[in-house]
Every structure is written in C-alpha cells, then in structure tokens.
Symmetry: C2
Subunit: 240 residues, 2 copies
C-alpha cells in the first residue's frame, strides 16, 4: 500500500485513488463519521494533498464519490448488444449487484441520502442513474420510440432492482447473490409479460425477445418452473 | 372557509385542520416555498395560533405533515380481511393512488426528501410506511412466519408501487389511474407467480390465493390476456 503512495501518479490516477478510498470508507461508515484525515491515511498521503484535489473539503469529496458510484452503476446496463435479452440482463445485474455487495453502506448512503450532502443534489444523481439505466434497457429492447406502458414497465423494474438491493442488504444479504440475480431477471420477464397483457407494444417486444431465447436458457427454465403453478389455476381461464 | 375558522374547534380538530392545510400547500409548492404565514392564511387564523400548535415552527409543521401523510399511506393497506386477494389489493391501491393523485407534490417531497427537514428522519418515516404496508400484505396472505423470498417479494412490490407512483407523476399522470391500479395488481400476481417458481412458501400462498379468485375476476381477466402471449413461446417449455 505504501508502495502505491510513493509511486508518481498522474492527476487522474491520484484522483481515482482518492475517490476509491473515499467510497471504501463511505461503504463501511456513515458519511458524517468519515474525515478527510481518514481518506488521507487510507492512501498514505498528507491531508493538504487531499485538499488540493478536493478544495471544497468533505462535501466535495462526498459528492465526487457519489458521482463516481453513480457512473459505475450507470455503466452496468451499458452491456454489449449481443446475446438474448436475459443473457444481457444477467450480465448487467452481475455488475450492479457486485457493486451493491462491495459498497453496501455506500450504496445505502447514495440511495437514502446522508446528512452531509444537499439532498436535492443527491436526488438528481440517483435520478440520473435510473434514467440512464432505463435508456440502456430500452436500447437492448430495440425500441426507439417507447410508449407510456413500456417506459412505465422498464422504469418500475429499475426501481424494483434498486429496492430489492436495499432489502437484500437489510435481510443480511439473503438469498445468495446469484439467486437474487436470477429472480430479478425472472421478474423482468414476468413484468414484461404482465404488461404485454395490456399493451400492444410490450406484446411485440416480448414476442421478439422470447423468439431468440433458448429452451435451455433462463426463460426456458423459468417457464418450466412457472408452468405447474399456473396449471393449478386453469379454472380461471374459463370464460364467464 | 371563513365559517370554519370562526367555529370553535377542539385542539385535535384545529391541529388536523392546520396539518391538512400544510399538506395541501406542500402538495403544490416545494417545502422551502411554504411559510407559516401561508398556512395561517389558508385556514384564516393568526400566525401566533399556528405557532401555538407548532412551537418548533416550519420544521415541526413539515415533519408533522409528513407524519400525517405517512399515517394516511400506511392506513391504505389496512383493508378488511374480506374478499379475494386481488379485491383487497385493488381497494388498498385505490386509496394509495388517490392520495398520490391528490397530494402529488407532497408525495414527491415525502419520498425524495426536501432540504428543510433532516434527511435521516424523513428516511425513517418513509421506511416505516414501507414496513407497515408489507406487514399488512403479509397479514392478508395469512402467513404468520414469512420466509426470506416471500418478504423480498412483498417488500420489492411495495417499492415498485411507490416507484410506479412517482413515474406516473413524472409521466404527466399517464396512464389512467384505474389502469395503473389494475396493472399494479397484475404485477403483484405476476411477481408472486414468478417467486413461486423458486420458493415453496410462495407456491403455497399463490395456490391458496388463486383458489378463491373467480374466473370473471381480476386474475381470470389477467390469465386470459396473458395466455396468448405465453402460448407463443411454448418452444421454451421443451426439455433440453
């Protein structure tokens, strides 16, 4: 670690190093319990050096750390346009949930706000993560002109992913991360099917998406597990 | 209106009247743009009278208004234990969404925090609404000892209801409120079915719930609309 501090870092490298250290500290302590001295100590530099990068002090460092967390979360959904929808969603959720797992307290602080940072600015950062994630997903769905139902569906699912992540932390990180990921993918498929029952654009999207899913993939597995549950309620299909 | 002000009100009545007026003001303006004078003017009483009820001034009034909004939202899910699950959820959502519609800006302020009130206290109030709503729903599901999946499912759906309400406001109150309500009920059923595919307790709960749903009710309607979407993807059911 001391090795790193004595290496000559570029301005960008040093800034990233300080932000990563700050995120690490915000991940284990409340923002009000993290001082600039702590950040300086974590990367073995002097307090004045931290101030040179963040002359606004703790407030600026905190916002920059949130900003950096938000950038990382936004990046999760910008997956390559290859593979089926559920493969892409699984990849995106793997990055997203790994971030939640690694930065647990920091993720909570980002979403629930802290007493250090001005709330309206935190809210704007969080909103931007949500919007950007929704746009990426609409891009994966190849819908340039999304209607109100498809937007509502995608945006609501993003909220659910965020909420489920917080609940997962609150439940002591249960169930296992891979189970949570698969459930969130199932949730997306289920919600898209649900919305397709009310909206033609969603029906078209799910039709296109399901056509390229494989029987031995996530949706096939999901369909086989759901079938017995649904088949027990065929009395509901009878026309009245 | 002036009639009301001159009537002799009990302490409780006067307090409710002031809170309702404050909620009304917070519903159309940002918290920082609402003064105690505005509240006093709205119910045609003097500023000192408002101070007598809320000696802590605007901060106290704002928190009390949030508290009152939270109580109303919590009450929505405390529906009588009669009728099928979807009938109960529809009733609960009717009250919840009516509140969102009526107090739009106030609802946003409650969930996104304001710069007036200490964030950690707002967060605690919002958390309590979510917890209480989840407990009420678990009571409707008649599960005294809920496992991690059922809790995750119910709590995630609550987050989705909240998120969808905010998105609905952001989308200029589209789609129609009754369509949003029906979609959220479908979402609950869909998510419970999805989770039942992974968890035995949820499978038991959905089995019990579906048994008392009628073919001409919400789930029957949902099932008939979903069937064609799902039947287009039977290739996924093939065992590999």
């Amino acid at each position: 670690m001391s090795q790193v501090a004595y290496r000559r870092l570029s301005v960008e490298q040093r800034r990233s190093q300080l932000l990563e250290a700050a995120l690490g500290l915000f991940a284990t302590r409340a923002p009000e319990d993290v001082s600039l001295d702590d950040v300086a100590a974590a990367v073995r530099v002097s307090r004045p050096l931290v101030y040179r990068y963040f002359p606004g002090g703790k407030q600026q460092l905190y916002e920059a750390a949130l900003r950096s967390a938000a950038d990382q979360l936004e990046g999760c959904f910008a997956q390559p346009q290859t593979g089926s929808l559920t493969v892409r969603l699984s990849r995106a959720l793997d990055s997203y949930l790994a971030f939640v797992d690694e930065h647990d307290a920091g993720f909570k602080a980002l979403l629930q706000g802290g007493s250090v940072v001005e709330t309206s600015r935190t809210t704007a950062i969080v909103d931007e993560v949500r919007r950007s994630a929704a746009e990426e997903i609409l891009r994966h769905l190849q819908v340039p002109d999304s209607g109100v139902w498809l937007r509502l569906m995608v945006r609501t699912w993003i909220t659910a992913v965020e909420g489920a992540s917080l609940i997962w932390l609150d439940e002591g990180k249960q169930p296992a991360l891979s189970e949570l990921r698969d459930w969130l993918v199932d949730h997306f498929v289920g919600l898209l099917v649900t919305t397709a029952a009310a909206d033609a654009q969603c029906a078209e999207v799910i039709g296109r998406a399901l056509a390229v899913e494989a029987a031995d993939g996530a949706v096939g597995d999901f369909a086989r597990r759901v079938a017995p549950v649904v088949l027990e309620a065929t009395h509901l299909l009878a026309e009245d």
